[in-house]
């Protein structure tokens, strides 16, 4: 049966601003399906974003939303979660927002293991501002600021998150649309800081420069490079060359921040 997205959308906000074929819309639909699966309510769910095309997402969804400053979603979201620990807090944004200007907030939210979910739409570029390279642009690829090819290696967001202390890390792609809601559902259910990276496409500022003839070619590339973690176990290092693992990459049960902070409050009260 057709899924009823309207329930979660703000009336008269469609069509959204994203370009034809931009994967951000596919990710937004996955998030809505996850919220429906988990029976979240509009009053107990806050979606927080920074700035960028990806960060426009909260504007379309009818629940508590915060569209903040570039790179600062994690800081604002932390404030919401500390003030209202029972709130489901979901952060959304792009690779630029999250790993360049917001990289510091990102690693510290991971380190604190604060119980929030961060959905990062990685299209390897600053889409909104015309295609400058981001810390996720792969080596050799072209951006408006690297017309002769990017000399830098790109971040592996999942590894960065695991290294910084996130306790749930998953990766999907905009092509594998029916997996997106499942990963986000599991991430929201997880107690602690969960990161879901979705490999995304920006046909407008990344695709054109990097010789993708169409969004279909970009989708096909996502299809080709993605290897589910289970399948990867049976593959050789050679076969995994150039591939990207998808699915739940890391999961750990660990004390999380708002619980620990409540204990600090108790200790402070007892000390009086």
């Amino acid at each position: 049966m057709a899924f009823d997205y309207e329930k979660w959308l703000r009336p008269n906000k469609l069509p959204h601003i994203w370009c034809p074929g931009c994967g951000h819309g596919i990710v937004m639909k996955g998030l809505i399906r996850a919220m429906e699966t988990l029976k979240l309510e509009k009053e107990n769910t806050t979606i927080v974003s920074g700035i960028g095309c990806a960060s426009r997402l909260p504007g379309y969804i009818d629940c508590c939303t915060l569209h903040t400053a570039h790179g600062r979603a994690a800081a604002f979201a932390t404030g919401v979660k500390m003030a209202k620990p029972e709130m489901n807090v979901i952060l959304v944004g792009g690779d630029g927002d999250g790993t360049a200007i917001g990289g510091n907030h990102f690693i510290h939210a991971c380190r604190r293991n604060i119980d929030m979910t961060y959905i990062i739409m990685n299209n390897y570029i600053y889409g909104m501002t015309g295609g400058q390279f981001s810390p996720c642009t792969p080596t050799g690829h072209k951006a408006s600021t690297t017309p002769y090819g990017n000399p830098d290696p790109g971040f592996d967001i999942a590894k960065l998150a695991i290294g910084a202390g996130a306790t749930f890390v998953a990766r999907g792609t905009a092509f594998h649309a029916n997996q997106i809601d499942k990963l986000i559902t599991e991430a929201i259910q997880h107690k602690g800081f969960s990161v879901v990276e979705i490999l995304d496409d920006c046909p407008t500022t990344y695709g054109r420069r990097n010789k993708f003839k169409s969004v279909i070619e970009m989708m096909n590339r996502l299809k080709e490079v993605a290897v589910p973690v289970k399948a990867a176990e049976k593959m050789t290092a050679e076969q995994l060359q150039g591939k990207v693992l998808t699915g739940v990459l890391y999961k750990e049960e660990k004390a999380h921040y708002t619980d620990e902070y409540a204990k600090v409050i108790e200790r402070a009260k007892a000390a009086k």
Binding site: M1, L9, P15, G25, I26, K29, N178, V215, I216
Partner: protein, 65 residues
């Protein structure tokens, strides 16, 4: 027994003509008509829902009941 066909609704004012639904339909049910997607061969639809899932623009619905 006669196969029950779904109803495929394309919301033209939302469709941005990206071709995603057309290209990845496993049974070639859809086609582009000018700038928007359209149903070409409903009989072939296997109700896999992939077009609805992948449309970035909430522009296609597969109604099965």
């Amino acid at each position: 027994m006669e196969k029950k066909l779904p109803k495929i609704e394309i919301i033209e004012k939302y469709c941005k003509g990206c071709h995603i639904c057309v290209e990845f339909c496993p049974t070639k049910v859809l086609e582009m008509q000018g700038f928007v997607a359209a149903v070409k061969n409903l009989e072939a639809c296997i109700k896999c829902m992939q077009c609805e899932l992948r449309c970035p623009d909430f522009a296609i619905k597969v109604i099965t009941e």
